[in-house]
């Protein structure tokens, strides 16, 4: 085995590929060969390095020096100056373009600890970082009920949006004695503005697999599925590769580690329906049906896929499990807040300098996230508002910039953490138009099973369109909230229920903007009659 002087990691993800990552990788290879550095410099592909809007980025160890916005022409300079002479090329290093309080040196913590450090397509690199040790420990030394207890004590809560305690969810399924149980990973990340799961799966697919193996063993499932959206082609390929590698090493299959425990993992591909993020709809879709939600109870934990007990968890939730098993519940509780321990992966988007993702303690304030991790508001504009949690989220105004971002703190303000998407809007943003986009999304994604949602979203769409064209009245705002309230009470699943949050929050916080849009002519004719 070779010991390399330098490790060069190149981030391969949709955004860097578009910026020509492949061509730059090839140029590096040629240049390295030209200078006969093959035995000293190791060029590796990895997932996203987490720096967005920065084109092709590479990171070099030792020193963790990051070059961004690379062009083909820059490669010879880096190779001769940095690789050969040991002098980093300042001009291309990250940090030259930004002066605000951007936090370059934050640590990747739990879920993303390996992302951007290892080659996700090689299981040995994951093993080299202590991978699958938790799986071995869990299977050989622990009883399923012990694992459920540790997860319960860790206080881990579901990262898909609702924040249901994971250990509690498992404890409904674990004691059931039936011949077949299933474990399902919800990777149908359809929430607009959310792509954290994609980056977890692209950057470190084995982490998810290890978590899934431990979780399946904990609840007694011998068959696990990963339900993933069809758009995530790179994830699907990397996960499939990872599953094959794990099977080859005997980490999956029958009689694992000689314990008599069998487990197999299969990928199911979704077909572009937002409602399939709802767990019972996801199960319907897995069974090859229209993805419409089922009535609860019975909950999936008791009667799920093919009428067998089925636990459905989000990707990020399960990616936390290996670390919890290896370090224990108390260690996990040292992150985050009392009621919401651990970290959360956020995606920060919109009018900020550095749109991208970060993993921070639960309870970090929105202001810190925007200023330190998003790099601040772009182009010296003022902050106006943020849409939190994708479409089924809430609009926050400036007043709530210092609110702690965790499930409980946000709940006090009637807000939700949701999936962790933060869409930042500057002073130019048109809030009426944003609400229009949200409602249009819901109208399109309503599955048609129940009347309140399918008709309600259509009616709301007509009202918001009217307001958008300047033909609305103040009464329209009242009727929108009332309609959304009715949907909240009577809709079959969370899709119809959650539309109340964005509507109420945007009208409460930005009422003036709606009133400005109301047409004067309309008001006049009403007064006249």
């Amino acid at each position: 085995m070779n010991f390399y002087r330098l490790q060069v990691l190149i981030g391969i993800d949709p955004s860097s590929l578009q910026a020509g990552a492949r061509e730059i990788e090839n140029t590096f290879q040629l240049e390295i060969a030209r200078h006969k550095l093959q035995d000293e410099v190791n060029l590796l592909e990895t997932g996203s390095l987490g720096y967005f809007g920065t084109g092709v980025a590479i990171m070099i160890y030792p020193g963790q020096i990051t070059y961004v916005n690379l062009k083909k022409e820059d490669v010879p300079e880096i190779v001769t100056e940095h690789f050969l002479k040991g002098k980093p090329v300042k001009r291309l290093m990250l940090g030259q373009a930004f002066t605000s309080g951007y936090n370059f040196n934050y640590r990747r913590r739990i879920v993303l600890e390996n992302s951007g450090l290892i080659n996700p397509e090689n299981i040995r690199e994951y093993l080299g970082r202590g991978g699958y040790e938790s799986w071995e420990k869990a299977l050989l030394e622990m009883k399923p009920v012990q694992i459920v207890d540790i997860v319960k004590n860790s206080g881990l809560r579901g990262r898909g949006g609702a924040g249901f305690p994971t250990g509690l969810k498992w404890s409904f399924t674990q004691p059931l004695t039936v011949p077949q149980k299933y474990f399902v990973i919800n990777a149908d990340e359809g929430e607009p503005g959310t792509f954290k799961d994609r980056l977890i799966m692209e950057g470190d697919p084995h982490k998810l697999l290890e978590g899934l193996m431990i979780s399946s063993y904990a609840v007694g499932a011998t068959k696990a599925y990963i339900y993933i959206r069809g758009e995530y082609r790179l994830c699907i390929n990397r996960l499939q590769k990872a599953i094959d590698q794990a099977r080859e090493l005997g980490l999956l299959g029958s009689n694992i580690f000689g314990t008599g425990f069998d487990l197999d993992i299969e990928i199911k591909i979704g077909a572009g329906a937002y409602v399939c993020g709802e767990e019972t709809a996801l199960i319907e879709s897995m069974e090859g049906n229209r993805g419409q939600p089922r009535s609860k109870p019975p909950f999936p934990g008791v009667k799920g896929a093919w009428q067998k007990p089925t636990v459905v968890n989000n990707v990020e939730t399960i990616a936390n499990i290996p670390s919890i098993i290896s370090h224990g519940a108390d260690w996990f509780r040292s992150y985050g807040t009392e009621s919401c321990p651990g970290t959360k992966v956020f995606t920060i988007l919109g009018d900020v300098y550095m749109p991208g993702l970060c993993e921070v303690d639960m309870g970090t304030s929105l202001r810190t996230l925007i200023e330190e991790y998003g790099g601040g508001i772009r182009d010296d504009k003022k902050f106006k508002g943020a849409l939190l949690g994708g479409a089924a989220g809430v609009f926050l105004s400036e007043k709530l910039l210092d609110v702690k971002m965790d499930f409980n703190s946000l709940k006090e303000y009637g807000a939700v953490l949701g999936s962790g998407a933060i869409l930042v809007m500057n002073e130019d943003a048109d809030m009426v138009d944003m609400l229009y986009a949200v409602i249009r999304f819901f109208r399109h994604e309503s599955c048609g099973k129940c009347i309140p949602c399918s008709k309600g979203t259509q009616k709301l769409y007509r009202i918001i369109s009217r307001i958008r064209y300047g033909e609305g009245s103040e009464e329209d705002l009242v009727s929108m909230i009332r309609l959304a309230q009715a949907m909240n009470i009577s809709s079959f699943c969370a899709l119809g229920q959650s539309l109340l949050m964005p509507i109420r929050s945007v009208i409460d916080n930005f009422r003036d903007e709606f009133l400005q849009k109301m047409d004067k002519k309309y008001k006049f004719s009403r007064e006249a009659s």
């Binding site: 607009p192 959310t194 995606t347």
Partner: protein, 157 residues
């Protein structure tokens, strides 16, 4: 038509392979669309018969999901992301620019059968907003007509 026969043979192989799975309808439809480019009626009938599922159920599933098409599409499917993030960054303008560049409206196919223009709800590449996809490839930060033309030209013959 020898070409059609080759496609039918591939469909047969696909069905035989996927039959091992439990409830493989979605997987078979994904595969079939990959073979034919869309899902013609004969294919749906074939799938229904081979998997012993009523044709009405197959049709119900196909029409429920955005991913499946009953009509033929152009050689390249262009999908503009209209998720909230892209919308806020000007997805409507991007759509208008593409419509002008291609000379077709949303949902239509160019007369040479090369491009179909469609939308999708979120591509999960929100940091690149506004985004459109050609096939599986993502193109982000699309704000100027010149840049769009450059990309489209690459996909013309």
């Amino acid at each position: 038509m020898p070409e059609l026969k080759a496609q039918d043979r591939r469909l047969r192989e696909l069905i035989n392979e996927k039959k091992q799975m439990r409830d493989p309808l979605m997987e078979v439809l994904h595969g079939a669309q990959g073979i034919y480019g869309y899902l013609p009626q004969e294919v749906l009938e074939n799938v229904a018969e081979s998997l012993h599922i009523p044709l009405s159920n197959v049709y119900g599933v196909v029409t429920f999901y955005d991913f499946f098409y009953l009509q033929p599409r152009g050689r390249h499917l262009i999908r503009v992301c209209t998720g909230t993030s892209c919308y806020a960054q000007g997805a409507s303008k991007l759509l208008a620019m593409l419509e002008e560049e291609l000379g077709i409206k949303l949902g239509e196919t160019t007369s040479d059968g090369n491009f179909t223009l469609s939308t999708l709800m979120c591509s999960g590449a929100c940091s690149l907003a506004p985004v459109f996809m050609i096939g599986e490839e993502i193109f982000g930060k699309m704000a100027e007509p010149g840049k769009i033309r450059q990309i489209i030209d690459k996909f013309r013959f």
